[in-house]
């Protein structure tokens, strides 16, 4: 009887622990609205500035390098086209 009671207590403790663990693992609720900050903003736990600056550097840097790569590829292909057109003209004359 005492053993059964002990087992019950252990099972209840395990259930409680897993329930509290799963509650702790719950993600925060999603925001369904963005509101401007009031007069007393909450203190920040994770510094926002490096993340914010990093995000803008990634976007602007990524776009800049893509435009650069596109311009270089386009320039190279256009050069080849001009070279081949010149060669075709020369052959046409010959």
């Amino acid at each position: 009887m005492a053993a059964a009671r002990a087992v019950c207590v252990v099972v209840m403790m395990l259930c409680g622990a897993s329930a509290s663990a799963s509650l702790a693992a719950q993600p925060p609720q999603p925001q369904d609205e963005f509101k401007p900050v009031g007069n007393n903003p909450a203190p920040e736990q994770i510094p926002a500035a490096p993340l914010l600056i990093g995000a803008y550097i990634v976007v602007l840097g990524g776009l800049f390098f893509y435009v650069l790569s596109l311009s270089r590829r386009l320039g190279a292909v256009q050069q080849d086209v001009q070279r081949l057109e010149g060669e075709l003209k020369r052959r046409g004359r010959g």
């Binding site: 993600p27 963005f34 903003p41 926002a48 976007v59 596109l70 292909v77």
Partner: protein, 218 residues
């Protein structure tokens, strides 16, 4: 390049110069603080990331039906922009989430379907690059899956449990937050059109180059 390209490129450049000023003047968000301002570049990037696979998918469907090379070229250009804007979205999102949610990534419907959409873009480009003859039609088939994934990405936040904000936050934005957002959306949309034009020009020039090589061989 078309006549409108240079004025549009200047306008787009000016908009990207002005946008940080508007963003800096916008208020912080009450729960997330300053990091919320990542939204002003994250959301327009994400919208272009949804627009690009739609353009790619529709162009691929047209290519499969009509077999015209211009549809194939448009699809290829849009696939590259899918990968570009997908990368920007998938990098800026976790930077925002780290502060807002306390974690870089969660495997919810929105983030996972976005990652899948980005990988479909890569699959298209890899097929075109290494697929050999006939890869244009195979890639077009892949692009259809990419386009079908877009509505799923868009509605995922409204239908499945997630900590990602739903699509309804946009119409509820106050003017002080909405003005910089729509300004950035316009700048990104203009940039998208410019990049598509440049990328299409590259494909047209490559086609011309192939024709010249053939003419030289004959």
């Amino acid at each position: 390049m078309p006549k409108w390209f240079t004025p549009a490129a200047i306008l787009c450049g000016l908009m990207f110069v002005v946008s940080p000023v508007l963003i800096a003047r916008a208020p912080d968000e009450s729960a997330m603080g300053m990091v919320y301002k990542i939204y002003y570049y994250h959301m327009p990037s994400a919208w272009m990331f949804l627009l690009a696979p739609l353009v790619c998918g529709v162009s691929s469907a047209l290519f499969l039906v009509r077999g015209l090379a211009k549809d194939d070229r448009r699809a290829w250009a849009a696939a590259e922009l899918t990968v570009l804007f997908g990368a920007l979205t998938l990098i800026t999102g976790p930077l925002w989430a780290r502060r807002a949610w306390g974690t870089w990534w969660v495997w919810d419907a929105r983030l996972t379907s976005s990652l899948v959409g980005w990988m479909i873009g890569w699959a298209y480009l890899i097929l075109r690059r290494y697929g050999g003859p006939g890869s244009d039609k195979l890639a077009a088939g892949v692009a259809l899956f990419g386009a079908v994934n877009v509505p799923f990405i868009f509605i995922s936040v409204n239908y499945w449990r997630t900590i990602h904000p739903p699509t309804t936050v946009v119409p509820k934005l106050p003017v002080s937050m909405g003005v910089p957002l729509w300004f950035c959306v316009t700048a990104f949309l203009l940039l998208f059109v410019l990049l598509m034009t440049m990328r299409l020009r590259l494909e047209q020039t490559r086609t011309r180059l192939d024709a010249l090589y053939v003419a030289l061989d004959e």
